[in-house]
Symmetry: C2
Amino acid sequence: MRKKKGLFSKSAAVLAAAVLLYSMSNSVYSDEGMWLYEEPPKDILKDRYSFDLTDSWLEHLRLSSVRFNNGGSGSFASEDGLVVTNHHVGAGALEKLSTAQSNLLNDGFYARTLDEELRCHDLELNVLVRMEDVTEKVNAAVVPEMSVDEAVKARRMVMSELEAEALKTTGLRSDVVTLFQGGRYMLYQYKRYTDVRLVFAPEEQIGFFGGDPDNFEYPRYNLDVCIFRVYEEGKPAHIDHYLKWTEAGLTEGDLVFVSGHPGSTSRLITMSELEHERDVLLPYTLERLNRLEVLYTVWAARSDENNRRAGQSIMGVQNGRKALSGGYNGLLDPELLKAKQTEEKEFLAQVLKSDQFKNVPASFEKIAQADKDSRKDYEAWRLLEGGHAFNSSYFNIARTLLRYADEVQKPNGERLREFRDSNKVSLELGLFSEAPIYDDFELLRLTDGLRFLILKLGYNNPLVQKILDNKSPEELALELISGTCVKSVEKRREIYAMTPEEIAQLKDPMIELARLVDEPSRQLRTFYEKQAEIKKQAHEVIAGARFALSQGSVYPDATFTLRLAFGAVKGYEEGGTHIPFSTQIEGMYRHGEEHGFKPPFKLPQSWMDSRQKVDGKTPCNFVCTADIIGGNSGSPVVNREGEFVGIIFDGNIQSLVWDYIYSDRQGRAVSVCSEFILEGLRSVYGAGNLADEILTGKRAEQ
Amino acid sequence: MRKKKGLFSKSAAVLAAAVLLYSMSNSVYSDEGMWLYEEPPKDILKDRYSFDLTDSWLEHLRLSSVRFNNGGSGSFASEDGLVVTNHHVGAGALEKLSTAQSNLLNDGFYARTLDEELRCHDLELNVLVRMEDVTEKVNAAVVPEMSVDEAVKARRMVMSELEAEALKTTGLRSDVVTLFQGGRYMLYQYKRYTDVRLVFAPEEQIGFFGGDPDNFEYPRYNLDVCIFRVYEEGKPAHIDHYLKWTEAGLTEGDLVFVSGHPGSTSRLITMSELEHERDVLLPYTLERLNRLEVLYTVWAARSDENNRRAGQSIMGVQNGRKALSGGYNGLLDPELLKAKQTEEKEFLAQVLKSDQFKNVPASFEKIAQADKDSRKDYEAWRLLEGGHAFNSSYFNIARTLLRYADEVQKPNGERLREFRDSNKVSLELGLFSEAPIYDDFELLRLTDGLRFLILKLGYNNPLVQKILDNKSPEELALELISGTCVKSVEKRREIYAMTPEEIAQLKDPMIELARLVDEPSRQLRTFYEKQAEIKKQAHEVIAGARFALSQGSVYPDATFTLRLAFGAVKGYEEGGTHIPFSTQIEGMYRHGEEHGFKPPFKLPQSWMDSRQKVDGKTPCNFVCTADIIGGNSGSPVVNREGEFVGIIFDGNIQSLVWDYIYSDRQGRAVSVCSEFILEGLRSVYGAGNLADEILTGKRAEQ
């Protein structure tokens, strides 16, 4: 599944083909691109698809698009606040609403009336309503004379101030976003929804049919959908812009658009940054993911209840492992490296022809040096400041409370970013969430985190010894978890109002652990923010040259902000076989049968019972060439008329290299067909009313 | 399950208790001890259990005990060559005899006639028939004036010569074994059986009921048994010494003996060696095991056939991960470290009192220094010489063929140990095994091995670059596996007869890879053999002092050679609950029920169908205090009369710390009851004839 981050491997042939199409310094000719709404690819669409992209068409799609702040996308489906996303994007909320007695993730859910809709503990949804280029404002604050330390502070300050000002003026969530690795800054403003209620979810067995083995594969048969409703002042919110659904179906070659929030790509990074990913970042992350996958799955296997408690953590870890190991394996391919190297050399050769770009070569070197300087303490940084050593929700809460008390006393612009005024609503939503935290799972995670810390920094490391305090990791974790008072949300609210001195008097063991590691953690953070600043300044120079030398449009790497992608509905060839663009419901039953309907290929009872009732010819999933990445999960796919035809939920194996390089030879985005969703609602779940609301765009009076 | 190696974690309380009982420099007072047959604990048995251990009793048990050379133990059960071991010890042989159409591991097996018995591809069984102390002979060859390099060579030479001479004289398999880390050398001679046939195996679902979650847990309900028959000259071998079985049952407090082959313990290592295990050896191994567990289980989940092919590899990896992480977690406990440290300090203080031991302190330092010097290239050594970078059966075969051609030209005493004359039969048994090797699984493993090599030594490492030869790991692995001719056993036999020059002309890609890495691999091997020699010499000095200062008997660390352990049948307290010493068949059904009979708690159909037929009160598994470790799997447990009462298959969680420290407060060895086996044979599997052969010690005329 695609959520937040998605890469992958491919056969050498796939990659070689991708490399041939790869030419970053020129404009984009294929269906490539995660385009900014403020700079849509009008000319390309006109040239390739004879499509006139109008501003009103674009605005309607933008205002119908929703960001799920936990790492996904979605869209409005009715004027009464209905929001459609993926089952795997909603899964975290489903898990938090579940108990040992009522497992919504497993069993599915359908609210027949508004009263039955369940309010989610901590979901935040955003709709992008305003965009402003603030590059000049940001860069005016960060002047060349400044030291790097001063630049870090100045940039943080100006960004926080711009955000605070915008929030104050409009009441909208306001974020300054860094594009082109530092080449541009945009102020994005969002309408924010925090009263989000669950309306419908299918069973996980069909939402994630085929499980980890089928993840990132195609053909697929997933009803990966989940439906929420946003509320304002206790009532369904009235929504002006929502997508009209169509059941007209798709034809090979149809132009479609994807409007969503791709999380992160690495297409514009330098060769040295790519090597840094390969040699430093990915090895650490993959080692950790392998470790957690074993830890969590083994624990989950002990009982159904363990499995329920660890379920979403396992999904997240497996998804990350499959996606990132794909990306890592891609980086071990000499062809990809060579293509990147060649492109960089050619760009540098071009740059050297003009005095205008004389700072560019040194900027490449600065980036390489910054990464080199970042190697030594990289793991310590992730462990301490990243919290991997304290793999515990209680620790995160304790640290947030401890730091909040300190940070809130500083001026807005000087605080750690997460404590800036404009982030207050989001911060409190997480901090005071009533979502259950399970002590047994916490113990498992925290014990392992402490062991991982020992493994990485060494048993005799002085800070490690201070943390362990002459206890075994298990003993210490047990003490921390059984002793902390941050379990209670009420207590958290109390502490949130305390002064640092009052907090110190609590002598809460988890808060005291957070305090013990706070100084070294902050030091590491400061150091890595400094390296990031050096790279931002260098990328600003490189991006400037790229903009100037580019003959066509360019788009920035993904940043989990709203983008428009386009492409054709299109099958592909694999191993001498043609893979049609769409699957059908009857194929889903066959796929289950071929695996003896054994988990994860076991269909839920509802679908087994409905086999004769459903129309087997109904389209299930389809592929298109639109350029997506993790974070696009849940993005609406619309046709030329702007009608909803499906919902992105994955990419195929061949698309996973898109993190570094786009190719539509075989790479495809995978979507759920609108017809599949409607057929399920009507014929399997007895949710005809909900289907009617979607099709009419209006909730029927009940 | 216990196979070869077994450790684990424990609650802090368990360990603290263990530590209290821990006093290595004094004699042994508890049921501790993996005693040498040549130095049995007669006095202790007399004192503690009023038991007179006679030489004839001992000889009978020794000659009835069998070593499974793939890493387990067993015992003779009839004069017609019947051998009983664990299902998990036989599982490798079962897997090799299976095909996509006939899955013996999954479905079980029973040969009703001799004709139906299936010959195993490469099982070797050993019975210890002669023992000779050769310490003086070995040490006479390694004189103080020698350099370490000379000492390595001299020791290898004298050991190989002693073995070759013994083999020539007796025809018996002859191994010189290093005991007390270098304090003593024994020449052990074995009767060897290589025609081993499968007689009976239950389904894996009951052989390994509860799977990984229940592994190393108690109470348990595993019918972990597998029955073979040894043949000589095409007929069942006639066996003089076999164990008489009893169904008389056991009573709390009964004295029992375990005769088997514990694989490895670390009770006599120094503090610095313990830290080396914690900081260097275990972190590497656990990282690799986590990685392989994810790799194999994900691949296995794709289809039943994948699962069959990877099954035993997964079991091995999971068992190792659970056991070793237990041990590693134990080493993170300050109590254990402190106990070890205190003991070492006290020993050193005692030593300093006498001039006789003046070399001892320097010996501790030499060991610490040798380990320190071993750190830098440890991973390279495991990857290259250990073959982790080339995780492939074909690679192992290719390397063996390549090296054999070189080594066989040297005098016996100068060869790499595995190519010494006395090992020829075992070497060829493996090399020419017709056991299936699956190309798809090979590709998965080899690709991953190459990626692990890159991860560990770095992409730009010159040797890594040479190995990759400008290909991606996947591409290279595919080329090697599709191109090698060592797949064919016939071809292997041809190459085995070739000169090095003829082999070079083959230009086989896998053999050429083995050649490419041969020099650096051998260099690493030489270096680590040198470190081992330094440690052996130092341990010889330390062991001498220990022998002299010890007031009672001592026993060496486990070395996968025959040992006698003893103990009492005894329940224990855990979390305020009394755990009775034995479980019963009716408890097994309840345990399955509690987990909804879902895998791995799904009982096989045969047992589901027999629920009314079997006697629910039949004892299932039992625990005792006998001192065991991985490798003891399959060991017979006998009563005072030397009668077979059960078969070791595991230790409980609390026993896993026994790798470093023995305690019988809660730690227990876990066995299958003889009654459970017999009840299964008679009431579930319709194998009454086999039960009769076991009970009468004689095959009925058919």
